[in-house]
Symmetry: C2
Subunit: 243 residues, 2 copies
Amino acid sequence: MSSSETPAARRRPTHRKGRATLTRESVGRAALDLIGRRGPAELTMRSLAAELGVSPRALYNYVEDRRDLIGLAAELFEQDWHPPKLDPAPDRWRPSLRALCDELRAHYRRHPGMTTLALTEDVTMARHPTMLRNVDAIVGFLTALGLPPADAYRACVETIRLVVGFVEFHDALHDRPPAHLAPGELTETPPPWLRPEPGTDLPHLTRLADLPPTSQDEQFTFAVDLLVDGLAARVRPGGRARG
Amino acid sequence: MSSSETPAARRRPTHRKGRATLTRESVGRAALDLIGRRGPAELTMRSLAAELGVSPRALYNYVEDRRDLIGLAAELFEQDWHPPKLDPAPDRWRPSLRALCDELRAHYRRHPGMTTLALTEDVTMARHPTMLRNVDAIVGFLTALGLPPADAYRACVETIRLVVGFVEFHDALHDRPPAHLAPGELTETPPPWLRPEPGTDLPHLTRLADLPPTSQDEQFTFAVDLLVDGLAARVRPGGRARG
DNA sequence: ACCTGAACACCGTTCAAGT
DNA sequence: ACCTGAACACCGTTCAAGT
């Protein structure tokens, strides 16, 4: 009766009808989990509500609409990642950058298709303070290598785009092969459909067909190596920035 | 009455009820046009049927389903492009590669979101003979620079991914800004949401806020320059391939 | 052979009503 | 304050019937 009830009595109940109370964050987490487990196409207001044991209408008490839900999941997804330690010393920056790309790739691969989903739903990601800290750390690392600040920012953007593009365009197909494809049709690189018919005049593809295939990881390593060498040309004393 | 009717009489009618007769190709072209004009989200069986003046059911006489339709549009889209002339001479390969990237970017920009749509619908692109010829030409160009065949193929893949990733993740947002965004919110690079609050400890982003913004084209040029320099490190006599 | 119209099972979202 | 159930306007796809 007094104005000083116990804090517990003031707090919102944590359960309701045997079910954990929904919150904006728990709804977003559930969406992110569902995307990771079943893929982005399976995220519907109705399927998420069913997993949470509520009616679809109940979700609208915590998110404005589906776009808001996807944006929320994307934000939580970004909060879950921090860049590894980055060392700009002349003999350490290359392995640092490679480790950064490897860890970023592993993170995005845990939710393949997430970025593409945000893109198609016009969701703008990356407003969270965590993301600001991450970008600041990477830009600082690239600046310490000797890049002008504007180029350090540009290189940061390209590094992230390289990884995200690789995961969304390459890993996503290999990690979750579409049901309609024959097993080996995408695991091989180059894929079988790039193997020319005998007799066609495609000399370089013909020669390629006899080489051992490139694995996903080899292709990724090649992409990161290209980036590292491109940056090295701007970092090395006497390196030329433009051709 | 004779068995030698005129060829015109044997041919399928080109019109029906005042409307051009549908064909698989004309349906695919209409889909590609609709995507370019109104964006990928606006492509539905019903909207396409309405534009063609038929019922939605009629489309199923020419395509198996929506995935098949999108694959068909993607195939026609690829047929519309051919790489420019590529000159591997030591003083010409850099401008050649830059021109290739510029033209590929311009092509993909004509149908922003097309690649992402194909991706989310599990459509595998690029089986058409035209695409084989294009890839063969690019791999041949990179081989002539001095890259081993396996690396030439890998570099070809990364070049295309760089351009497609840039168009889908960067140009798409600038060229068709989502309705819910304030005008300057995406045209500026770095975007306003990367500008830290005063007093926060993000020194590199803080410094960046005072620099003139990077235009889309400058960012693209930077990305291509990185690629060119990365390749140069593998092409130059004495260039090191790995760090 | 090719089309239409009605129908089915989905989807996001909203309304009116419950507790 | 938070929920449910019914409803609306969409969607892809299919069925039965027309010409």
